[in-house]
């Protein structure tokens, strides 16, 4: 939250080597070079760290491209016959709204900047632009496109990019021209995707395409199969979906897994990113996506030349081709530059008037602001992934390739209902989900039941197991189902070490101490994994994928089916182990009465370490198994921990049967909600486990099933 380090890039010192790394070393703060009459000071808060770190860096490189160009190639901003150097003062907003607001205030008050450039993302820009407006400082931006911020009547906010509600316009027009008549929409229920989706609904209806269903889903969703199952049964021509890059991975995977193949898939963020093609390969062929800008687009202007010349200049500086976020940033700075020169002054009122009357052709496309401050001259582009290449297919003015229909598809198949038995399908999905929850919850439940420790870092151990499986599949190409036993062994060792180092010292401390310590461990593991693997979503491939088609279009997801089988096997082995073996009996004895177990000669300390190791082993195994189904990312843990808590508290601490039953109930309820509740079903499924938990605990605080340790929520 706190404002972090200032990074100051001064005139003409944007050398590619020192700037490429997001290292905290500030560039030497020398004054403007000789020959300039002065400096135009511009401020920007950008994300160097946090969830927008990557896009923040791209935006910054975009701004710095302009700084370098204007000072070294162009010779400075010309005002009243004199040449001024451009200087951008950067701060890291840590992807946090409070920090971004604080920094913009600081840029205005303490750094006394003349103008502001935008931060990355709509959420941060909405707060930052209000401060700019209240202080009468102009902010030009290219990476915050939600419609709401342009409804506020601000006079100082200008957007060079296409506004969110027009993201899908050219894509929808293209698909309508190809003969599409029906569509479904799924979007993340956050600011930017909602703006995009609301716009998409409007554009679809304007083009005579019937919207069959609209579904929303929560941020950081890990599983979209319920939505995709519903959509598959509607058999629409077009699927419009998305929120963020990672959602594109989920949608393409899930559509493949479930056999959902609409003729046109228009995914709002992702298809324009070459990373998606690398990640998903042939699965993503044919998918369409909007793009603000591509280097191949047929745009050109007197500054930077053509789009591809800009791209070459950028690549020369940074060693990588520009993504559209970077080009939008450069274009924002360029628009400000052109307005200052047109006004021949640097005072806010003159430059604002110049911005409103600006008419420019640039490498980024035409720029001309309407009364809201939105650039309405530039249409949104649409790309299609064709044979591993990202090609621009719309709008016509910028297109370089023809839209090509996927080989197997044809439009106009119509919404022929399969007549699927929804209840049966929901039950199948629910049981499959329950199988996943079973394997996910077992380790958590036993640790709590035996040792009385609530493993708040449970989800993080799942995450580590998933990453191990991903590594095995990346390095040796091993199927996660094959590497799962290996992951189990590695996690066994990690569990043992963790128990000895961290858990043992807190065994007898209060619940507050153990909760907070494990919470600290969770934060550390998340961020350590993020440093190692980045926050990008990963996934593994498995040979046991796809769906089995039963009668009447009922389908069974194959991967989940096998996870269920493994879960049942693990549950059976675990029960036998606890009931029949000597060690298992020791574990149960230690759970029932630790002191008495010690008196009869059981080494309780060793039993605890072994229990923890086995449970973490199972938890890691679970992570490996779900790695082809749920996206792997450093922050996937907390929701899994909460689910495990909910199931365990309802089903009895350390009860294997209870875990199985609780997991099945929760799985079926969630699947039912997602299928039967239109539009917000998936959101409600997220809430279901908590409502369950609170209701179950309040109504029956002594627990529903009996486990190794009695549930008693009313005694501490």
């Amino acid at each position: 939250m706190a404002p972090a380090l200032a990074l100051v890039a001064l005139a003409g010192c944007g050398g590619s080597d020192q700037e490429r790394s997001p290292a905290p070393d500030a560039s030497p703060a020398t004054g403007p070079e000789g020959g300039f009459a002065g400096t135009v000071r511009i401020g920007a808060a950008l994300s160097e760290t946090g969830k927008f770190a990557v896009e923040g860096r791209d935006s910054r490189q975009g701004y710095d491209t302009w700084v370098k160009w204007v000072n070294e190639e162009y010779g400075g901003i010309e005002v009243d016959g004199l040449r001024y150097a451009a200087e951008i003062i950067y701060y890291d907003d840590e992807s946090d709204a409070d920090t971004a607001a604080n920094l913009v205030q600081r840029l205005i008050d303490e750094d006394r900047v003349d103008f502001l450039l935008g931060p990355y993302s709509s959420g941060l820009t909405t707060g930052a632009s209000a401060i700019a407006e209240a202080n009468n400082v102009i902010m030009v931006e290219g990476n915050g496109t939600s419609d709401t911020m342009f409804e506020r009547g601000f006079r100082n906010l200008f957007l060079v990019a296409t506004i969110a509600s027009d993201y899908t316009k050219s894509g929808v027009e293209l698909l309508a021209a190809e003969g599409a008549t029906s569509a479904v929409i799924a979007y993340e229920d956050t600011s930017f995707p909602t703006s995009v989706a609301n716009g998409a609904i409007r554009h679809l209806e304007d083009n005579g395409i019937e919207v069959l269903a609209v579904e929303t889903y929560p941020k950081d969703i890990q599983d979209v199969s319920a939505i995709m199952t519903k959509f598959r049964d509607l058999a629409p021509d077009i699927f419009v979906g998305g929120g963020h890059y990672n959602d594109a991975v989920l949608f393409v995977n899930s559509a493949k897994e479930l056999g959902f193949a609409p003729e046109g898939m228009l995914i709002t963020v992702g298809p324009s990113n070459p990373k998606l093609v690398d990640e998903l390969g042939e699965d993503v062929y044919g998918v369409l996506g909007p793009t603000q800008w591509e280097p191949v687009m047929a745009y050109e202007g007197p500054y930077f030349g053509t789009a591809s010349e800009y791209a070459a200049y950028y690549e020369n500086l940074w060693g990588e081709p520009p993504v559209y976020q970077a080009a939008s940033a450069t274009a924002a700075a360029l628009a400000l530059h052109l307005a200052i020169e047109a006004a021949d002054a640097t005072d806010t009122d003159a430059v604002r008037d110049a911005l409103y009357s600006l008419q420019a052709d640039t490498f980024y496309g035409p720029i001309s602001f309407d009364e809201r401050g939105v650039n309405t001259a530039k249409p949104m582009g649409t790309v299609q992934v064709q044979d591993g290449q990202i090609r621009v297919v719309a709008p016509v003015a910028a297109a370089v390739a023809e839209y090509s229909l996927p080989a197997t598809a044809s439009f106009g198949r119509g919404a022929s209902s399969f007549g699927v038995d929804q209840a049966a399908q929901a039950l199948i999905n629910g049981v499959a989900l329950g199988g996943m929850y079973t394997i996910l919850v077992l380790g958590f439940s036993i640790i709590w039941g035996v040792m009385g420790v609530i493993n708040f870092a449970h989800g993080e151990f799942v995450m580590i197991g998933a990453y191990l499986a991903w590594l095995a599949s990346e390095i040796w190409g091993v199927d996660p189902f094959a590497s799962a036993p290996l992951v189990f062994v590695v996690m066994l060792a990690l569990g043992y070490v963790t128990q000895r180092l961290v858990v043992n010292p807190i065994l007898d401390r209060s619940h507050l101490v153990s909760l907070l310590v494990m919470f600290g461990v969770a934060i550390m593991l998340q961020n350590a994994m993020k440093l190692i693997f980045s926050a990008d979503f990963r996934r593994t491939d498995t040979a046991v994928g796809g769906v089995w088609e039963l009668t009447d279009g009922l389908t069974v997801p194959v991967t989940r089916f096998w996870i269920l089988i493994v879960a049942l096997a693990v549950a059976a082995v675990l029960t036998l182990f606890l009931m029949r073996t000597r060690l298992g009996k020791s574990i149960r004895a230690a759970a029932q009465n630790r002191e008495a177990a010690g008196i009869v000669g059981i080494n309780v300390s060793r039993v605890y370490a072994v229990t923890f190791a086995i449970c973490i082993g199972i938890t890691g195994l679970a992570g490996a198994l779900i790695s082809p189904v749920l996206a792997i990312q450093p922050f996937q843990g907390p929701p899994l921990t909460l689910k495990a808590f909910a199931i365990t508290a309802m089903a009895g601490l350390g009860s294997v049967r209870g875990a199985l039953g609780g997991a099945m109930v929760l799985g079926i309820v969630e699947a039912g909600l997602a299928v039967y509740i239109p539009r917000i079903g998936t959101n409600l499924a997220v809430v279901a486990s908590f409502v369950f938990l609170v209701a179950a605990l309040v109504l029956r605080p002594q627990g529903i099933f009996r486990g190794l340790r009695p549930v008693d929520a009313t005694a501490s």
Partner: protein, 349 residues
Amino acid sequence: MGRGHSTQWPRGMVARGRLRHAGWTASVAILVFLFLLPLLPSVTNSTLFTLTLMLTTVGVAVNWNLTGGFTGYVDFGHAVWFGIGAYTTAILVSLQSNGPQIGWSPIPAIGLGALVAGLLAAVIGRATMRLKGPYFSIAMLGTFVAMREIVRVSGITGGGVGLTLPPYLNRPLFYYIQLVLVVALVTFTWWLRRTRFGAALVAIREDEIGAEMRGIDTTHFKVSVFSFAGFSTGLFGGLWAYQNTFVDPDIAFVEVRTVDAVMSTMLGGLGTVAGPVVGAVALYWLREVLWANLLDYHLLTQGALLIVIVLFIPRGLVGLVDRRGTSVTTLWGRWLGRGVDRTKQEDEP
């Protein structure tokens, strides 16, 4: 784990005698300075805004400590009241086209926002405060997540797009409002700790069943203080929404607000009057000075710091200056003692 509340909490008495006297003098001096600060010519809106954000963290931490520190109910979802206060204010004030367009002025809107948060806290607290220990903690975390989703799918809240408020950004005004609020809140806490009401809260923490047996209506006391904490955090939420000029589910309901409150209180001293204030300021300072240079590593170190505080300085910074200060040897003893809660023995009368 789970062997009764009676002994796990540091006693939480601020140092007495000379130390107390010095503390009072210093507090008054700092207060006078803070009240005169905006009059200094070199102090900009930016400085005041930074301090206002810090006062928000302090205020939320003090509120968290009311339940977490005094009654021993560790609320892992406290940020929910902040979000409700922020959203109610935004709903009443916003003129956005997809919102309800009620158009109230800020003062009544923020006040009603706090009332809504307080009332909801009373209702939800009645149910969840029947639960103890980790069950209560997780139930509140569940409440937090559920409320965020409810706000996301409701119509009146603008859904996922959120609501914008008119940009009326008077930094000195909000600074003074929040400074007065925090001072009032800390004074209230100090006073509360000395009343029968406060004694009842501590009795609940130490031995709830025992307290009940002596005729203390524990439900009434703990739900009242929980509701008050919700009200007060809702107030800060409303003030924040107005200054941020924008709410959406993901910036109004953030886990970090709870984490900061917990960390501040633990760092400063759980169940003490000054602890949350000292802790929140120290946390801010740590971030500004230390973690700013660690960039990506700062969350990693934050996790490590939490573990260190909880294990080694469970009585917090305020506890360190207490006369029974924690020495390095006791820290080592605690670690080597593995599983023996030395704080228990220390706190036995």
